[in-house]
Every structure is written in C-alpha cells, then in structure tokens.
Symmetry: D4
C-alpha cells in the first residue's frame, strides 16, 4: 500500500486513505478559513477524488460556489459534497431514527453522509419515546435495517428503547438539544453510554458524521464477505 | 400552631412537625452514633410518637433492639420503624416500579416508607425498558395508581417511558447502580431531569425515602379535599 | 385507547396524548424554525385542539401572528397559547413563589402554563429567604395552596425553607440566575436535590413548564377522585 | 414474536430476548445477592437456555458451584458461563487489542463474551502506542479482523491510532486503569469520543461485555446476509 | 520581625508565625506518620510553644500519649492540643451553629480551635432550616455573637437564612454530610458561595479549623483597636 | 424590630434590612429591566434611603440618569450609587490587592462598595506573585490594614501568599480572568478554598461586592465594641 | 539583583524580570483596554526594552499602530512584538508539530514566541495520528529537534505518539479545537496529562505561549552550560 | 534503529526503548499481579538491562525479593530498582521542592527516579509558600539548579512562586494531598496549569516519576550538546 499524501502547505491531504481504511478523506470545515476550504476542495477535484465536508457554514459554501467549484450543499445538515466519477455503493440499509424535530440537523448529517458513502438510508424522524405508539408503529420497518442510528438529545433514551426491540447493532448519537441540566449534550451522552440495552455503541455529541462512517464501515464487511 | 421541639442536647426533635407539615419527624440514621439513635428513638417512644428511620445499619438496629426498644427493621431497605398507636391512613395508591434487581433496596425504601405513612403500594419490580414487553404487560395495572414512583440506575430511562404511558404524576428516583460513566448515579439523575416526558419530578440519587414522602404529601391532598 | 398521531412530515403530532396521559400535546418552540412552528400550530387549530408552546421567541410569535394564527403571546414567560373551545378546569390551587425579580420569567412560565391547564394560581414573588420576614408575612396565604412551586436561582434555598413550613408538596424549579459558581443553575439544582426538607421534588433548570405540568397532574387526581 | 418472560419474583427473565434481539439474556452479577444469582442461573438451566454472567465475584461463583450448578468461571475476566446444548456460531473474526497489562481483565471480558456468542477472537495484548513498533509489528494481522475492539486506559489513544490503520470498524473500550487526572476512566473515554479517526464507536468505561455484544451483533449481519 | 524556623529534617517548623501573622503554628496531622507527629509536638513542647493539631487519628493520639507527651485529645473533633504557659485570650464571642447532628464533628473542630485560640464560643447545634422555629427560638441569642460560624451539609442553606437575620459576619463551613448529588460537600459549598444573603464568606468543605482561625483573626482586630 | 418592606409589585424592597443586619438594601442590577431598576431606585430615593447597585450596565445607568435620578455611576466597576443624607462611616481600613490589570473591575467593585459603606480603602493593584518583589515592596503598607481583600484570577495564589505575610483576616475573591483550564474562575476559586495559609475565607467568583460587605461587617464590630 | 519595576498606575511593569528569570516581561493583551496596552508598550519602548504581547486583537493592534508605535502584528497567532536593539539568540532547535489545520493559531503562537526569544523553529503542521504515514514521513526530521512542542485538540493523542518516537522532551499543548465531548479542550488536556509515554509535560489549553517559554528556558540551559 | 521487543505473553517488553527515546523501559507496578511483576523483572535482569518500577506495593516488593531477585525497594516512594552494570550519568542538577510533609512520597519518587537516571538531585522539602521566609532562605540554593521540580498539593501555588524567582524551567507536580474541594489533586492541577508565572509545565497528579523523566530528558540535551 502506498501511503502518500498531497502537501498543500497548511494541510497534508491523505490521498491514500481510501485504500488504507476503506473510507475516502473527508473534511471538517469548521475552523478552516474559506480560502483553506477552497484550496482543499480544488486539490481533490483536480485529482479526481470525491470528497465530503461537514459543518460547512453557508458562508463557506457560497464562497466555494462563487469560486466555480460545483459542490452540492445541504443547509439543514451543513454537508457539502463534491462527487467525481462513479458513486460509492454499499449493500445493506441503515435506519436513522430521531427523538424530536430539533435533532434533525444531526440526523440529516448522518443520513447524507451515509448516502454519499453508498448506503441505503431510511429516515424515521420524531419517534421519541414519550409517545411510544409512534415508535411502535414504525418498529417493524426499523427492524428491517441492518444497522440503526439513533439520534436524540435531552434524556437520550431512544437508543435504549430501540436496542431492546431490534436485532441490529445500534449506533447512538447524543445531541446538544436541550437546556439546563442537559449540559450541552452531556446528559444524552451519559444515558447512551450507560444503557442496559445491549448492542449500543456511542459517538461524540452531535457527531452524525461519525455514526454514518461507523455504520458504513460495518456495511462494508458485507461487501467484503460477498 | 405551637412550634415546639424536644431538646435532647445533641439534637432538637421536631415534635410539632406533623401538625405543621403533615408529616411526622423522621430520622436519617447514617452519620449518627448508635447511642444517639437510641436516644432519639426513646424520646419519640416516650412521647407516644411513631417514628421512622432510614439508612439504619444492621449494627444500629441490633443495638437498638438489644436496648429493649421494640422497633421493626427491614434488612433490604434498611428502614427501621417504631409504630405507636393508630397507623396512618391515606387514600389512593402508589405504584413503585424498578428497572432492575439491583435497584431493589431503594425501591423497597420507597415502598416501606409509603406504607408506614399509610399509602397503599403496588410493587412492579424489574420492568426495565430494554425488555419493553415486560413493562407493557404491566402497564394497565400501573395506570391504576394515583402516583408512580420509578426507581432506576444506569441510564435511568424508565421514568420517561412510563410517564409517556400514564396519566399519573411520576416521581423519579435515580439510583447509584451502575459503573464507569454512570458516575454513581449522576447519569440516571441527568436523564430524569432532562426527560421530554411530561409530569416527571425528581429526587436525589438513592432517595427512595424522599420519593415516598413527596408521594404521600400528594395523596394527603385527597384526604384534605374529601 | 386509540394511539394515533398526525404525521406532518418533519413531526408526528401526538393527537391522542390527552386521552392517554391526561395532558394535551405541547410544543417546545426553541430549535424549531418559524415555518415548522406555524405548521404545527395550524395542524392543531385545524383539528380543534388547544395547544401551548414554551420558549417561543418574539420573532416566532410575530411570524405566527402575521400568518393569521390568532395565538396569544406573553413576552415575559415566552409562552404562546392557542385556545380552542372550552377552557380546561382543575380543582385546587397552586402557589408560585420566587426568590427574586430575575426569576420572574421562569415563574411566569410556570404560572401561565398552570393557568392554561385550568389550575388556579397565586403568585408570591420576591419572597427570598434573605429577608425572611417577607416570606413569613405571606406564609399563611401560601399554606392555603394544594401545591407549592418554588422558583429560585443562586443558592436556591427557598424550596427548603418553604417545605419546612407547609404541608403541601413542593415542586422546586432551579433557575440559571446567578454568576460565577452558580454554574448556570447547577448550584440551585444541587441545593434542591439535597434538601433535608421533606416533600420536595425537582425539575430541570429553568423548567417552569415542567413544574406546572407536574402540579397539574397532581391536581387532576383530585378531579379523578371526586 | 412471542414476547414472554419468566417471572421469578425479584426478577423477570427475558426468555424471548434471543428471538427478538438476536442475543440471549445475560446477567450483570454485581449488585445481586448470591441467592438471586443462583436462582436466575437455575431458571435458565431448567429452561435449557445458555446464559452468561459478567462481573461475577469469586464468592458468587463459589456459591453457585457449591449449589451444584455446573457453570464455568474465569477469574481474570470474572465471566461465568452456563452452556446448554449447541454452542453459538458466528462468521467473521474479532481482534481484541489492549494498551497495557492492566487492561487485561476488561480485554478478557470482551474476548470471552465474544467467544461465548460464537465469534472467533484474536488477542493482541500490550500493543500500546508509546512503543509504536510493537503495534506496527502486529498491524497486518489486526487488519485481517472484521472488527477491532481496542481496550485502553490512561490516555486511551490506542483506538485512534488503530482506526487510522485499518478498514474495519473499531469499538473502543475505555478502562479505569490510571490515576490522578485519569478520573477513573473519564480521560480515556473522552479521548475515544473525540477521536478524529473515523469509524470509532465507544462503550462505557470497563464495558468489555458491551463491546463484545456490539461486535457480535455486527457479525450477525454477515450470517443474515449469507 | 525575625523570620525563623526550626528545621527538623522532614519539616521546617514556623516558629515565628505567631509574631508575623498573629496565629501560632498549627499541625494538619492527616498524612503524617505517627513518628513525624510526635517529633513535631516535641519540638514545640521543648521550645515552650503551645500548638494545636487537627485531623488527628485516635491511633496518632494514642502514640503521642504513650510517648509521654501530655497532649489533650478530643475524639469527636479529632483535635489534639498541647498548651504551654498562659492561655490565649480574645475579646468577643463566636456562635457556632449546625444544621444537623451529623455535622457535629466539624462544628466541634471549629469550636475547640476557637476556644484554644482564646475566643468565647456559644454552640447552637441542630438548628437546621427545615424546622425554622428551632432556629428562630435561638436567634436572639445568636444575634449577640460578634461572628457566626454556620456548619451545614446536604443543601447547606443554613448560612443564607442566618445571614439574613443577623448583623454579624457569617463564616460558612460546608460539610461532606449527605449522599448522592451532595457530591461529598460540593452541593453545600456551591450553596454557600452563591448565597444572596450578604456578609457570608466560605471556607473549604469540612474545614471547621479554617473557619475558627478566620473568626479569631477577626476578633483579634478588636484587641488591636482597644 | 419592625420587619417591614415596600411592596412595589414585582419586588418587595427590604426597608428594614439596615436595622436588622446592619447593612442597607442593595440591588443586583443584572437581570432586571431598565424600568424595574428605575422603579426600585425611585422608591429608595423617595424614602430617603441611600442605596447601591452592582453590575449596572451602561444602558441601565443612562436610562436612570435620563429619567432624572441623580445617581453616580462608575464604568470600571459598574457600580451605581444613590447617596441620601449623611454618609456611612466605619472605623478601620481595608486593603484591596489584585494580581493583574484584568482583575481591576472586580477589585474596583470591592473598593467602591466598601467606600460607600464607610470604610477606608487602600488599593494595591498589580502585585501578583510572579513578581514577588512588587508585593514585598508593598507588604508593610498592606500589613497596616485591618482586613485584606485579595482579588485574583488564573491560578489565584495571591491570597495564600499574602495570608502568610499578614496578621489580618484575608477575604479572597476569585475572578473569571483567564482561559482554558481556568474554567471561568473555577481554578482560582479552588486554589483559594484549598489554601494552606490560615485566615482566608472566600466569596463567589467575581463577587467583589460580597467581599466588601463581609469586610464592612467585620469593621462594624469595631464600631460596636467602641 | 535589583528587583525594580515601573509603576504606571494601573500596572507595575517588571523591568528586572529578564535579569531574574532569564525571560523578558511579556504582555497578556486580552482583558486590557487599548489605552492600557498602548501605555505599557510605550513604557517598554521608552526604556529600550523589547517586549512581546499575546492574544492581541486586531483592534488593539490597529490602535497601537495608529498611535505611532511601530510594533509588528501577526494575524494568525495574534502575537504583537516590539523589538528594540539586538535580537535574542538561543542555541538549539524546537520542532512545533500540529494535529490539524484548526490548531494552527496556537501552533503559530508557540512558533513566533520561540523565534522572538531567539530559538530556531521547525514547523511540522498537520501530522495528526490518524494518518500515521504523514507523521512517520517527518519523524526523522522531528528527531533532530532538541525539544518538541506538540499542539493538538480533539483527542490530543499526538503528544503520546511522538513522545514514543523521539528522545527529546515533549511539551504538549492541548487546544480547544473540537466540539461536543471535547469540552473546550478538556479532553485533549486529560489525554496529555495521562499519557503513558514518558517525557511529556503539559501547559494550559491553547497556551502556545507557555509552551514556547518553557522550551526556551530549557534551551537557555545549553547557553548556560557552554 | 532496531525496534525490537521481548514478548513474554502478557506483555511485550520494549527492549529497544533506550536506543529510541533515550530512556530505558520502566514499569508501572500498580495493577500488575506479583507474578507478572516478577516475570518482567526477571526478563530485564536476564537481558542485563537496568530497570525501575514505580508504585510497587510492599507486598509486591517482598514477593520479588523472596523469589531471589535482588532489587532495591524504597518504602516512602514505593520505587523498586534493579541496577545492572554501569550506572547512568547525566550532567546538571535538579532541585526537588515540596510544599509540605505530606507531599514527601511523591517528591521522593521524583528524586529517586532522577537519581536512578543519573541526575544530581537537591531536596528542598517543606518550603511551602505560607511561610515564605522558609522558601526565601533557600532560594539562592534553588537558583543553582538547572531544573526545578515543585511538588505540592492543596492549592499548589508553590510552582508559581518559585517560577517567578528562578531562571530554570519548572516542572510542576500536583499531589492528591488535601481534602474537600481539593478534589483529589484537581485543585492543585488547575492552579499549576493556570499559573501566570512563565516556564511552568505540568504532569499528572502524583506523577513524580513523569516529572523526573521529563527533567532527565532535558538534562540529556546537555550531554548531547557537549
């Protein structure tokens, strides 16, 4: 395996990542200047690599577009994508479930990232546990997924309830939705880490991206074992 | 209202509390010497007051009994009671629900305290949310209660699920059951405080006693309005 | 019980909640777009359901009004209400007490939500414990309430003092009022959870809404037992 | 699916869990009395169900054996198993990697649980990142695994380094190994949650069991898709 | 001022402290070996200096006595004193108030240290705020003190209530009494720091000694201004 | 003592506080509307009471002045004062010491409040411990004070060093000056609470006001004992 | 040694610091007014002292330049420098390594401060551990440095990996880069403090300045021992 | 460089570490069984490598000695050493300073580790800042050291004061000495991280070993540049 990278001064782009880890390089746009983001996108485009960026602000997206880079931008999830050549394709389906409307941006980040990486995604939004019948009405559909991503803030109990009802592994994403003693997502994070339901693993607060990547890595196993 | 108390040197016993707040004086036994506990119990006995103690160690209980005070002691809940004269009687019933076997001591503390104060108590133990069918099998019974006390450690999501299914107010008791990121009950406490289910209020970690007293104060309203 | 809901795409409105839990659906407006809020309110209006929203920003309220939905909006508490048909009616009265002027928005949220749900509310504002005579001057009046809601920030000791003086259950609402080591309400929250006064249960920081719902669920018991 | 359970008084055993979630019921032995544990094990044995218990103390294990239940007990991992009938069998292999010798009990819990559930397990112990050559010497072998479980305390950076080198999903288990500012595993937990490596999901501190179950649920996908 | 000290190898005893800061050297016995404590006490005795030690274990005290050093030891407060020559004498009186029986060891530490340093001390124990009449019955007496030390665990609201009722400065000592969300005294500490009552200053959790020293330094002003 | 107050609707002004606690009512302006602040100031003015407000924003101050209330406002400390009749007068002097320039606003709050209450104040600014000679050059002057207030952020060690050098009681004010692991003043707060120097008591982060009130209550003892 | 300082009212400039500690006075610009900063810079200029300021805002820098002080300002690192006379010169070289692009401002602060103090600096940016080959490609170069400064946010594992590969002491700078459970740099800080790699010492979050000063003090040893 | 290691089953000993990082392999004995420790020591002895172990319990040490391995054990610091062949030798001297007697075990760990690695060590114990004259009496001696290690618990201000008085780099070791709000060393750790004195870097709580290794790596620079 040739471990190479593109050195563009302020960054060393990991061109060989896909070969090594199975996933292409992605960009965490927050904390980068507009110019840096543009530079990175252009490098990938020029090398004919697809690339996806998360936490891209509307200002960054506009700057990139104005500079003539034809990336797609989704305002809800703040995901920016630059697709070059054939799309990725993964076997298996992922169910993305959310507790409430306010969790939508994180859930959409997960969904869009998974779709970019080639997974089939089914969205089950607003199936929070306080109206259990809403969840139970959907549970047979959720059970069909190979992997379930649960996105929830506040008390974050959605992952536990779903994990007790399905056979698939559950990836839990705590969100910073809430106030007071939610402590910016800490409450939901702890809930998910302490779940007595089995088969739950957890990613960082608001990290829809991480959940999607983990799920796609799991699905890739299917491709590998075909 | 005569606000009086019995001064026994190291403590000032609040003899008029029942008249003032509707609840008799109770004793938090932890942190008291055996001799102090005995002295307090004797004072109440001699004044013909019923009294209940929580967190009474087996050693304290044995010491009290050896000294000839005929109190009852429950080893699971660590509640000690000294009943004098007519028993208290409250209208209405309380359902005490627990997530798992390890929550039993706290749940029993709640149940026994509520019974001592005159409430009818129904125990629904081990109805944790990861096996939702166990809870759903019991839910009609739980719905009959006037108040529900939910006792749960680890992720503590039981209160949220039940509160979404019943009309009664729910008093949530986080327990210190768990390990690692449960942080001795902090996780369950935060879960309960952040519940998006309505009608939940929370007491301190492992405070079965406090939940029972709050529930009984609610039931007393029924007696008042009769 | 028919567990049904109205699916409006981004949200699944819990139309049957009132039948199931005794409380109508309510809306947490924070984190929703103006358009989402409007859509939800219209759905309820069209189904002839009363509905109440909390944490509604002035911008959201103006948008809703401009769109022709005749909701009422209170700027202090940020509560928005849409009353359809007969008003709710509960027996019993709730006393809402605050420690200081800065706690007013949270206290008003509690008061207005309770009034919307049909409870009688008595406001006792600025009876903080550092001027105990102000509280004692009001205590006989507070004692008449069936339930007391105490709202306090900073050290949050109001609940403890009142719970030692009244027979009613006390629901304590910590507020984020304060600075420095108040840690955005954590100090008041811990004070209330650790109260050695009996009969206190606690809701999330700044959660006047939750306190009101819990109180109203308690009062509903009275109606049930009539 | 028949959602049934065995009610043995203090517990409701989830007999149908395997059918529902793909994983059999397991027992968290900590916090249960010896008698409770024995009762649970006997119930499973009598119903011809295999069962596995974690955090079983030597005293509990001895009590169970003395009572004539022929369970196997591993002192390092504190796992107790009662195998009835045919063993479980899963396709795919799991690599369990540890940072240091002190992480061994947690790593062994993960390994033994995975083996009980039918997975093939390869142990790579003491490949901590401060002697990177030790890890690099093993990396080709680790790359063959379908899933990697990394177990590490102190700064817990093992997961990040490995996830940058392999294509498989990585399940990270922080351990409470360390002192001072490790805060009983909090440091390692945060490290793993904040990893900038992709494809990492995290379980509770010292929760080797949870990592193994999650991994086995992933492997079950392979069986399903065969 | 001659800044001198006695170097006894493992410690440098601050013989001139009294001249410099007005307070004699004192010893924090915890964490010292029995032999070290004995060595320190002997050095002071031989130099005809009075000295006081806090947190002295019964074992340390017994060792010192067995070695022939005639120190006085109080088992409740764990204070050990070695008085040489004339006793200290301060004008003014200190009131030491406690919330409950379990706070007694810390309160006694404060009281005994203050007495050793020459202050007059009035003990008002078990005047917790949940039985306000107990406190109000004593308040006129407390008002006579020049300084009030309040010792309280759990929610620690005693300082706030008293500071609203007296003109004297209040020194608040949080104690580690409590459980669950008291977090070993953190709750009481935060309560006291955030008090909206004026004139409260706070010392470390369980630091009765520190409160007494601060109070005595204040009283010394009176002597200075005579 | 007549415990009376002025009820102006949203607030109950504690007119008798001075008689009861020796200190006049003061106003915490933050969190109050401009109109509320104006109303409170006018009430005091009309009753011929001096009053002092802290954390008064420039906007609040301008609004008050524009409304014709002749209060004095200091921009650095954000203190607003309304002096009516004879000024307060206390015996004794207070030294206010700061670690660095950024602590100035808090130090000035302490100084101005103390001066308003009648104390003599000596300012010793920028005597932080990392340039110990700056402090030692001033120490003789500081030693003349009856009470020392130390104001410091970051590591907050100033109180410890000064308390080891002077005989006066030291009131320590942690400030939120700093970044990173200063955690908004938590670091300085903990330093001061854990000081091994004797005679230090602590107030809330950035609470210059509280330190001044405590100091003035101490000085009032001198007046009382005259 | 003459311990002298320049008293300019609001600050006491430590003119003799260089003689005493080997490092010149530096200025923490945050929290100072533009006028204060200008006054300090002028004082140093007039005394022919070089001086360096950190965390200087663009507004402060512009104000200083407009006032005719010819300081240099770097927008990335926010460092302002005023060089008078001969430049400092230190033997030895420092390698500054960063995990990602967002850590650049802190890394540049370290690099520029070290260069101002006379050290040779080699920058190795974006060598984060998730693309280990990028780091390994540079490691021989990094090994040539006398001291390595590692700057990393998120999980902060860069220091551990590098310290296991080089013989030089490593100074680790956690940054506040990240989100969610990074808790503003706390995660990276804990990682670095708990590293099992040897020879790492840590400075405050985002404290590039502190790392550079520590490194330069180490290099000064070389000069001393020449 | 040959990166080799000795694989002894449960551990992979890093035989080439000295060549690579300049420091020999060392052993963290806590969490290892007696048998594991013995096995590791024997492997090093047989390969003629010197080795040092920290946090070795008296029981571990006795077991090792009884097995015939002639290691030296120090009870205060809990350091065990096995010296084979020529002793290490470093130029330069390290001053180890402590705040109080209770910090001695950590200070001795630092001192003994540094001596084992060949450094000259000067011990300055009990020079805490509350008796500043004790420190100033020693400061000229401390100034002669090339590196200063400061060991302090409680408020941990020693590092700041010393760093303001010496030119050498200061390595600060917080200790867990203290109680209450010291939070097991957190207070001292934060103090040291937030020091406004320059040239301080910090290691983990109670990590005397880490301070010594860092110091020795610095001194090795001197050897390298000879």
């Amino acid at each position: 395996m040739a471990d190479c990278f593109a050195d563009i001064g302020f960054a060393k782009l990991d061109i060989s990542r896909r070969e090594r880890t199975g996933m292409p390089e992605t960009i965490y746009c927050a904390g980068k200047t507009k110019e840096q983001l543009l530079g990175i996108l252009k490098t990938f485009r020029d090398r004919k690599c697809s690339v996806l960026g998360t936490r891209c602000s509307p200002e960054q997206a506009a700057f990139v577009k104005d500079a003539g880079v034809t990336a797609e931008y989704d305002e809800v999830s703040r995901v920016i994508t630059l697709a070059v050549g054939e799309r990725y394709k993964l076997n298996g389906r992922i169910a993305v479930c959310t507790g409430g409307t306010a969790d939508l941006p994180v859930a959409e980040e997960a969904a869009q990232v998974a779709e970019f990486f080639g997974a089939g995604v089914d969205r089950h939004f607003d199936v929070g546990i306080t109206g259990l019948h809403r969840l139970l009405a959907k549970i047979e559909e959720i059970r069909k997924a190979d992997i379930v991503i649960t996105v929830a803030g506040m008390e974050g109990a959605l992952a536990s309830v779903i994990a007790g009802l399905v056979a698939a592994p559950v990836i839990a994403v705590p969100t910073s939705v809430g106030y007071g003693a939610s402590f910016h997502g800490l409450s939901a994070l702890l809930t998910m880490l302490n779940s007595c339901a089995e088969g739950i693993s957890v990613v960082n607060i608001d990290n829809g991206f991480g959940a999607a990547v983990t799920a796609c890595k799991m699905l890739r196993m299917l491709n590998n074992h075909d």
